[in-house]
Symmetry: C2
Subunit: 348 residues, 2 copies
């Protein structure tokens, strides 16, 4: 592409800090590719909500839709009631733009310290379903605040929704050297949803006969993530289990400061969105302490998505080189220092 039309949602807390560095690296990575980037900032998040009561209007959404991709920092602030921004903005974007593949790599880079004593060679990717499951917002409560309150949450799973994400996960597994797919669910308890997932994986496996499939209950999957994470290649799972497993995956591969993610609409009927797994971290916001690496790795995923794999590889290589030398570093660098160093490495 000759130009990349990027919607930027820096959001709350450290979101603005890490996105600034992500954009710096992106500019550098595009240098010499023939593609230039044009960004539009969207003022969304806590500030906007406090000022206007709005989270994401139809006009915001329509404007965002005209872009090729979205770079998002982080959403959420303690001054806003829990759920308002998450449901009304972050999840609304994922659902409205049909981001049904939430891709989250779990890779332990050389030089990065894992809390695990013997992590092994960790390099997997979680394909988290992004538009169904317990995240649909299909819950409610009666007699709220009384001793007779009943609060329900409904996990909705459709053959349509499960099949498309499972097929995407198989395709990713088929393209990787190990060609292994692990379905994670809890089909011995959540029998209806679980059996739909299981049958779907069995059926789609026929289209990808060279992919080896196994299954783990979500509880058992957490055990393997700390005892033998190297066993995983591609994991496919539902929205909530994926949320839980990917934070754990981030923790064992060096922390959420390094964990990238892509909310992908594979059908390209709307822009995909790239964001670090971490949140807005109000405790360290504004102090230059946030690690922009997760955002920079998300930028690499963005470059892949828009058809610039060489630029993506350069960004990843810059991160890998930077991480390899961190252990020997004399001091912890600030957000902007890490961003500058990564941009310089990309420049070569």
């Amino acid at each position: 592409p000759s130009s990349l039309n990027l919607a930027v949602v820096a959001g709350d807390g450290i979101g603005t800090e890490v996105v600034e560095q992500g954009l710096l690296v992106l500019e550098q990575a595009l240098h010499g590719t023939g593609t230039s980037v044009r960004t539009t900032d969207f003022d969304l998040g806590a500030r906007r909500w406090h000022a206007t009561g709005e989270t994401l209007t139809d006009a915001d959404l329509a404007a965002i839709r005209t872009h090729d991709a979205i770079l998002l920092g982080a959403i959420g602030d303690p001054s806003v009631p829990s759920g308002v921004l998450e449901r009304g903005l972050l999840l609304k974007l994922r659902f409205a733009l049909d981001h049904y593949v939430n891709l989250r790599p779990g890779k332990l880079f050389a030089g990065v310290t894992s809390p695990l004593a013997a992590p092994g060679d960790v390099d997997f990717v979680v394909v988290r379903e992004g538009t169904e499951g317990p995240y649909v917002g299909n819950g409610g409560a009666i007699r709220v605040g009384t001793p007779h309150e009943v609060a329900n949450e409904v996990s909705v799973n459709t053959a349509f929704g499960v099949e498309r994400v499972v097929r995407d996960a198989f395709a990713r597994a088929a393209a990787r050297p190990r060609k292994k797919l692990t379905l994670v669910h809890k089909h011995n308890v959540l029998v209806h949803a679980g059996h739909l997932w299981r049958r779907t994986v069995e059926a789609v496996n026929a289209e990808f006969p060279d992919v080896t499939v196994d299954y783990l209950h979500v509880d058992a999957a957490t055990i393997f993530l700390v005892t033998n994470p190297a066993r995983f290649d591609v994991i496919v799972t539902d929205n909530l289990f994926g949320d839980i497993l990917t934070d754990l995956a981030a923790a064992i591969t060096g922390g959420i400061g390094l964990a990238a993610s892509a909310n992908i609409n594979p059908d390209r009927t709307a822009p995909s969105m790239f964001e670090p797994v971490h949140g807005s971290a109000p405790d360290i916001a504004g102090q230059g302490k946030a690690d922009p690496t997760a955002t920079v790795l998300s930028v690499a995923m963005l470059l892949d998505h828009v058809g610039l794999p060489d630029a993506a590889r350069r960004v990843e290589a810059a991160v890998a080189a930077d991480l390899a030398e961190r252990g020997a570093a004399e001091r912890v660098r600030s957000t902007t220092e890490v961003g500058k160093d990564l941009a310089a490495r990309v420049a070569g």
Copy 2:
């Protein structure tokens, strides 16, 4: 009590092997206490289901109810469709007998190797709700097997159900030196259920003003379980999050071979049930490879519950001493060898 009337559900796979050793240690622990044990075996699980199609009949349940407590091994076998025994037997027991407190300690014993490089002093307990949440079996599916299938699972949460388990968790926290309670949920997404949990914890905190409360989203909780598990004292959470967190807790404290649990009916309107966290492990069943330690620690929880804390402490001390010496051992012992050694230590 002069006699302890114990229902024994050895169940499937390694269940029978570990329960045998649990009973051996129990007998030894009761020696000299003035309490004798009388056991009734219940033939429940895969064999019974294959022979009769029954999982847990009304007559079984009525017979079990006449006992003081239940010792359960493990339920589940690959020859039985997933969910049949879990829902029809294990969860049916927990629900029918109103086991609303599912207590699962996360303790790293001296001498036990954690997969974490620097676990610290890990000693917490998870109070997992046992009768509500996504485990209620309130799901269903339409158009099963067609491209238009919709499979739903409903998480049901009531003020009654949440309050009683939260109060129990506060009481446990108040009785511990650190007096700290962590609520784990996902109230930024599961807003109805999550806010009920949050409001309930705030309200019950007024009755336990010396207990310090904090909150973690379930995804963040998994991070802390691998980066700083020593931060936890008492965790209270829902049925599904508790399932996930306690397997992870088991993994970081030496594996599910050591993880005990108690399904408690604190109102004593029905017998409580004690079981290892691990499953039936068909891959190693019948080979004498299962570690009975989790069952033996569950027996200690049983002894506490029936009012024999001294006997409970003796069993725990036997396990602690055995674990402290394992590292130096020349070879891995069989299930029966570990059981015998533990019984001998309890005998003193």
